[in-house]
């Protein structure tokens, strides 16, 4: 890993969720899976909105874009499969380079892990803040209730 990247990873943004206004509509998951996979369903979403629909209480499990990414450290194909964007600090996975070893998933400190395995491609995938999308993360764009936002370090 190049020296200058360490500093930049510290300022990487991430998706933040607030349950206060979250209605549980799940468009975050559905638009994510549509954009990235051409299918719709939570299992192919980079995030995953979970919770208690009866109580209307929700949590959005999504990659935290750690400043010291253990997934990145664990990847045997570092900088090819699990990479860090030099300008934004975003950690992302290049599916074509991923051999599906799951080391990154095991290294993820969160429960449930914020990296998932694609059931058919057998490669790992996770939120990359839609880094190839000019409008930014599609989940935020389609959240009608301002429950999702881009947070930077220091934000809750």
């Amino acid at each position: 890993m190049a020296e200058n990247l360490t500093e930049k990873t510290a300022v990487s943004a991430r998706i933040a969720h607030s349950d206060k206004s979250c209605t549980g509509c799940g468009l975050c998951d559905l638009m994510c899976s549509l954009y990235h996979e051409g299918e719709q369903g939570q299992s192919l979403s980079r995030g995953e909105l979970v919770g208690d629909r009866l109580a209307s209480e929700f949590t959005f499990n999504v990659c935290r874009q750690c400043a010291k990414p253990k997934c990145y450290d664990a990847c045997p194909n570092q900088d090819k499969a699990l990479c860090i964007d030099g300008s934004t600090g975003v950690k992302y996975i290049v599916a074509d380079e991923c051999d599906g070893c799951k080391d990154c998933i095991e290294a993820c400190p969160f429960d449930p892990p914020r990296i998932k395995m694609h059931p058919e491609k057998e490669t790992a995938f996770k939120c990359d803040l839609c880094r190839d999308r000019a409008e930014g993360p599609i989940c935020i764009e389609y959240c009608g209730f301002e429950s999702l936002s881009l947070a930077t370090k220091g934000d809750k």
Partner: protein, 637 residues
């Protein structure tokens, strides 16, 4: 079935009597012709031979489907339930209801387009469906729990699952019991909670990790972007009619300012039309437009001052699994009218008090405590079957004699279903020719065509007839009304089969002709998701086909005839029940009504003498098999 897009491809067939679970390919039931939901359910019922059994007979199938659009982002996560209905009156008809929440999408992700449940379990049971595996489980510990308790108990056993339950009302075979998921996603009309109860089926839980494969994801994304750009897709923070109590500004402000937690709604839908309220000591739950009508039991001039009563009525009825729409109708119209006509007493209902009517002249109106006691007694009485209304308004009235029945009839124009939005002749014709209240499409008339001639003209139906309604200026219009009713009926079938929720699919939504209107939107969504090339004409043909199949079922099973296509006598008389909040501007004219019906049958391709489908229309809709079966039964044309 090789269908990869839209449909999951499998139907789960559950026989509770012999605990046998099998899978049937969806392709056995022509999904490209009948879509899903109501269309698929009706096709399944038709192929089962339209069993001529009572609603509570084990052979009455409880059929529940999602549709090809379910699982996609949009107002498509709805399940349609079809079964012989305990609630319809005077006969138990094969009809339908529907509910939202997340259940329909979970069922699709679990790998199924529909669940067919027949038989009766020998003990309380629940069905679990997870990623292609289904199991009948013991529900002995769940029997007797309310709808929220049941869901909470099952959430622990089936994390992330969507849970559909029947409450104590359904267990006790109340004909006004609901199937409910989450806080208020309910199949309300029909009494289907009691069909679950009759089968000893307490709940269905489902969860899937599959996805909806979309044939043309770029087209679908572009479609969403288009409606989004029109300002219609996201951020609809204006659903005031659903999110807040609307019956008085006082109640709205008090609920909003003190107890509103957030908004909510069905999965995948951008509109989120419910409000979530948490009132300490009463309970937490969602509300939609009808749910706050418990204010009415406080008396007209006190509406809004008893929000505890309002909220208690809503939460308690949902927990008990009771049909709010029926209860509110009952309390609002029937209770008071009965009292005023001195036909019945509180003792007849086994109630110790009816503060809503007995205390009308008192300044305190019985007060909050009296209202609380009343609701507790009233609602629990319904849930355990001890209150005569447990059988529904019409059967309750029947028990109390002709005068009560006459009153009930004046509230319920047809099928034992409460009047709502029957303000034009088109709605009346729809009611008369349906198998239940057409409530889930009546807004097409009232909120779109009735008030907006431009939109009506665009779809080539009559419109603008409600202009000047408040000044009493509008009139019954018979001319060309058959076209309007036929349009809405075909659309209703599509709504219940694609499916798409009624509210966002009103003709006034997505109205940017010529590029976009609701017909174009629905046909493009279906095309993008399934990969089928469905234009507006093809789509409407499917709606027409489903309506015809529904009619064929009525004819075959229920001996439906044009003489049955009518409304209660009061709709033809000068004095329409004064307590009905909405009514036709004038009584129906028998002669014009009969002529309209004849034109309707002609337009439908049905026999004008019998009101039954002719071979020609059925064959033109690729339904030769249906024509043959009707002919074999001597009921074609």
């Amino acid at each position: 079935m090789t269908q990869s897009y839209g449909w999951a491809g499998k139907i789960l067939w559950v026989d509770l009597s012999d605990r046998k679970i099998t899978e049937v390919p969806t392709s056995d039931f022509d999904p490209e012709k009948y879509l899903g939901g109501q269309g698929l359910n009706s096709k399944i019922f038709w192929e089962m031979g339209c069993p001529d059994v009572d609603a509570f007979h084990p052979d009455n199938p409880l059929i529940l489907s999602n549709g090809p659009l379910t699982g996609a982002s949009g107002p498509f996560t709805r399940s349609t339930v079809c079964s012989i209905a305990p609630q319809t009156y005077p006969k138990e008809l094969f009809t339908y209801s529907g509910f939202g929440g997340k259940f329909a999408s979970e069922l699709k992700y679990a790998g199924y387009d529909a669940v067919v449940i027949v038989g009766k379990a020998d003990k309380p049971s629940y069905l679990s469906i997870q990623d292609g595996e289904a199991k009948i489980n013991d529900a002995g510990d769940l029997w007797g729990l309310d709808a929220y308790e049941t869901q909470n108990a099952l959430m622990g056993r089936h994390p992330r699952a969507s849970i559909l339950v029947t409450g104590p009302a359904g267990e006790n075979l109340s004909r006004i019991s609901i199937m409910i998921t989450e806080g208020s996603g309910a199949a309300g009309q029909g009494g289907y909670g009691a069909v679950m109860g009759s089968k000893n089926l307490k709940a269905i839980v489902t969860h899937g990790t599959g996805t909806l494969r979309i044939a043309k994801p770029d087209d679908f994304m572009a479609l969403i972007r288009q409606v989004n750009a029109g300002g219609e897709w996201v951020g609809n923070n204006n659903m005031e009619w659903g999110r807040y109590p609307q019956k008085s500004e006082t109640a709205k402000a008090a609920m909003r300012d003190n107890y509103l937690v957030k908004f909510t709604g069905c999965y995948a839908c951008p509109f989120q039309c419910h409000g979530v309220y948490d009132m300490p000591g009463v309970g937490k739950g969602p509300q939609m437009c009808n749910d706050n009508w418990y204010q009415y039991s406080c008396g007209d001039d006190k509406m809004g001052e008893n929000i505890e009563g309002l909220w208690e009525g809503n939460v308690l009825s949902q927990k008990l699994g009771l049909n709010n729409f029926e209860l509110v109708g009952f309390m609002l119209f029937f209770f008071r009218t009965i009292k005023e006509h001195k036909i019945l007493t509180k003792e007849d209902f086994g109630l110790s008090a009816i503060p809503a009517v007995e205390n009308r002249k008192e300044p305190e109106f019985g007060g909050t405590q009296a209202h609380h006691d009343f609701l507790q007694e009233f609602l629990f009485g319904l849930a355990d079957g001890s209150n005569p209304l447990s059988a529904g308004m019409m059967r309750c009235a029947e028990k109390f004699g002709p005068k009560a029945l006459q009153l009930a009839n004046s509230i319920n124009p047809a099928w034992g279903m409460r009047s709502h939005h029957i303000r034009g002749v088109g709605e009346a014709l729809h009611w008369a020719t349906d198998t239940r209240d057409p409530f889930n499409s009546c807004h097409d008339y009232v909120s779109a065509f009735g008030v907006n001639k431009t939109i009506a003209d665009h779809f080539d139906v009559i419109g603008g007839y409600l202009d000047g309604e408040s000044e009493g200026k509008h009139q019954n219009i018979y001319e060309d009304t058959e076209h309007q009713t036929t349009w809405v009926q075909n659309h209703q079938c599509l709504r219940n089969s694609l499916p798409i929720c009624e509210f966002p699919s009103m003709p006034s939504w997505f109205f940017h002709p010529p590029e976009m209107d609701i017909q174009i939107f629905e046909s493009k969504c279906l095309s993008a998701v399934t990969g089928l090339d469905v234009d507006v004409d093809h789509l409407w043909e499917k709606g027409n086909r489903i309506w015809n199949l529904r009619r064929a079922i009525s004819v075959l099973r229920e001996d439906r005839h044009k003489d049955d296509d009518t409304l209660c006598d009061d709709m033809f008389k000068e004095v329409i029940n004064v307590h009905a909040p909405e009514k036709l501007p004038a009584p129906l004219d028998r002669e014009k009504w009969d002529a309209l019906k004849d034109r309707y049958y002609e337009l439908r391709g049905w026999n004008v003498e019998t009101g039954r489908p002719e071979r020609a229309i059925l064959e033109s809709l690729d339904m030769k098999d249906v024509a043959d079966k009707l002919e074999g039964a001597g009921k074609l044309g």
